[in-house]
């Protein structure tokens, strides 16, 4: 017993760095912007930061499930735009928020279903299958809108504006949604048999099959979850913008990949986790927010984010974790 206590005391620095290096990175970025950018460390900006990151976090949580099972989803950016258009059309047509929400969720699930069937059941490589679906989705939304945004009239239900723009006390409503979904994701991934099976498949799909896990079905489920998270984010985004934009959500693609790769570098052995994804989203959002404050042109933000992704991936490889994604 004393022996094991001694062991805990002497955990080497490398191990600590492996577990908490990314959290440390987040802290450093936070301190850096607090010092350098004048208005960064203010209550207003911090709340704004949380609100900005809420959508990225939620969409990345869905991706976390997919990557937890060893998969990849390239369709989320385009899918967000399609859902937000269909949501707007149903809302304008019926005036019924709940009907529109239902349509959005079903559409998100449908995209996830197509992804999952192509990848898990038909056996297309994740990149190719989901990339092709993304391309089809892009075509469909352009077909519907001819590239034009859909604006709302004043008659839309109040609850719709509340989703993206409302506050509970001082807290923006999307931030509350984010907290709820982070909690759900952490719980499902860590405490349920679903999460256990998803990570088992990501850890060794063949052994999972031999252990009787229905690998295809659970991989399909991860894509359904990803589709669902896309739908939720699309609704928040539409409310936030007050209009539906066909190209809305495209920036989520790169940011989400960055977030989930950062997530895999955290806390352990190369699995993306719910909490890791939250920290990852915080890092990417701080970069977006802080660099904007420093008046860094947007193209430099892309360069910075790309560098962060490379850094995160290289770090995770150096620390001896194998990449989960099979190309």
């Amino acid at each position: 017993m004393t022996g094991s206590r001694l062991d805990i005391g002497s955990i080497d620095k490398k191990e600590l760095f492996r577990k908490y290096g990314t959290v440390l990175g987040a802290l450093l970025i936070f301190v850096f912007f607090s010092v350098v950018a004048k208005n960064f460390f203010t209550p207003t900006n911090l709340l704004m930061l949380l609100r900005q990151m809420s959508m990225l976090t939620i969409v990345s949580l869905g991706f976390t499930f997919v990557m937890g099972a060893g998969g990849f989803d390239m369709s989320i950016g385009n899918a967000t735009g399609l859902v937000n258009i269909i949501f707007a059309i149903v809302l304008l047509g019926t005036g019924n928020f709940w009907l529109a929400l239902l349509a959005a969720l079903l559409l998100g699930l449908a995209v996830g279903l197509v992804n999952g069937v192509l990848v898990a059941y038909i056996g297309l490589p994740d990149f190719i299958g989901t990339f092709a679906v993304g391309s089809i989705v892009y075509g469909i939304k352009m077909l519907i809108t001819k590239g034009n945004p859909i604006s709302f009239t004043d008659t839309v239900p109040r609850i719709f504006t509340f989703i993206g723009q409302g506050y509970v006390g001082p807290i923006p409503f999307p931030v509350i949604l984010m907290a709820v979904f982070v909690g759900i994701a952490i719980f499902v991934l860590n405490k349920t048999s679903l999460g256990r099976r998803i990570y088992a498949i990501g850890g060794n799909a063949v052994a999972s099959l031999y252990a009787g896990i229905n690998v295809k079905r659970y991989r399909l489920i991860t894509f359904l979850i990803s589709g669902l998270s896309v739908a939720i984010v699309a609704v928040i985004l539409t409310s936030r913008l007050g209009s539906a934009q066909p190209l809305a959500g495209e920036e989520f693609m790169l940011d989400t990949i960055a977030v989930v790769f950062l997530s895999t570098t955290m806390f352990g052995d190369g699995e993306p986790t719910g909490s890791g994804t939250f920290v990852g989203a915080l890092i990417i959002s701080m970069l977006n927010n802080g660099l904007t404050m420093l008046d860094v042109p947007y193209y430099f933000q892309y360069i910075t984010k790309g560098t962060v992704v490379i850094f995160a991936v290289v770090l995770s490889v150096i620390l001896g974790q194998k990449l989960r994604v099979k190309f």
Partner: protein
Amino acid sequence: MSQTESGISQENIIETEGVGKEFNGVWVLKDIEFDLKPGEIHSLVGENGAGKSTFIKILSGVYKPSSGTLNISGRPTDLQNVRHSESLGIRTVHQEINLVPFFTVYENIFIGSEEKQKILGIDVMKDREMKKTAAEVIKKLGVELDINRPAHLLNASMQRIVEISKVLVHSPRVIVFDEPTTSLGEEERERLLDIIKSLKKTGIGIIYISHNIEEVMSISDRITVFRDGNKIDTMQREEATPEKIVSMMIGHKSYNEYKREDCFKCDDVYLEVKGLNTDVLKDVSFSVNKGEILGIAGVVGAGKTETAKAVFGLDKIHSGEVYLYGKKFVPSCRKAINSGIALVPEERQDQGLIPNYSVMKNITLTYMDKWSRRGIMQRDEEISAAKEYIDLMSIKTTGYSQLVKFLSGGNQQKVVLSRWLNGDFNIGLFDEPTKGIDVKAKEDIYNLMNHLAGEGKAIVVLSSYLPELLSISDRIIVLCGGRLVGEFDPKEQNAQERIMHAMLGGRVA
């Protein structure tokens, strides 16, 4: 008997004196005296782990010998690496086919040794020359083969020809053939053997490794038998008989590691397989009763694993039936588990374990729902189950939360076994259950299988290690080349020799 006949030694291409190899203090090869003359076929036979491959790896420069001298063309040679060995004319045709599917025959033949010329400082392939040489080599083999055909369109036998051609373009003096007839049909096999015989006539020295004793008898000039890292003897073909070779391979050591006395066999048939055909299996039928331990013997590639996979629903069944407890059963993985079939796979790392999962999570993987309420894992119950099996199976671990990848092979195997034990299966398929694990763990696993049979489970042990099957099984059936070739009582006279003979493709007397 003196090993080196001084008169001939000068013309030996290869000659080893007291060559041995040790890894971490264990000698896997001891004091080998071996020689090879030009224009002869010298076969190497021995069970898995007898030291054949280690010896070949020394000849081809992969390993350096820990003792002894290697003479090549009469000169002591310290091989530095594979390239060095190749430059001295020693080439190997490996068991696995290693062709680039979309490359043509001639491109594959010259892969890694392309003939090129510099044009404006750029390496340009000399396609015409390569095609010419490739065509010549293939013609010499007496085969009709279009050198412009992509490799993936060739059948197994033609792919093997390409592998041989890859070696031949380097005009080797020694060719090592490692199980070249694996996965070939009867006719193709004959043709390949003819080709190897014709190569010998050109003066190439051939070392031939095979599990098929009839092949060895038909093709060899001399036969050397390895056992447990020792050379047992080298015989002229005329002095050898299949029986003699088999008895040299298995020796007369007593396998005292485990002796099973019990027999719990009941009359109820638990599993019956009738006329099973898959990609590998041909018309395989067998049954196993409640309380019985059935051994399925066969060398690597005989179809043991495929039998287990077919019953477990992992391999597609083309025709034939499976019956469980007398009722027809159409295998699928989930249904097999729900009907009480357990499969302990051969490849622990690839098929058995989630390496980054803890001992506990690996143990509870299959019957996870036992420890979940409405999908939520009940941590305390899970921990106590894991602790129970760690105790029961005496798994050496720092605790239930240790990652399974840090355990030794034997303990990892016990984790895989525990996974099934907590689910009350009726039929256990154990594929090479003691592969690569230590003696103590082996004994634990034998005891466990005996215990399980005593509880009334039907146990099928699939193994290429005959002594363990002889000591554990109530009955042994033998697979060879995907076919069932015999059924034996392990207690009958000369069971070991007869089963080994059947495993190695001899006709059963």
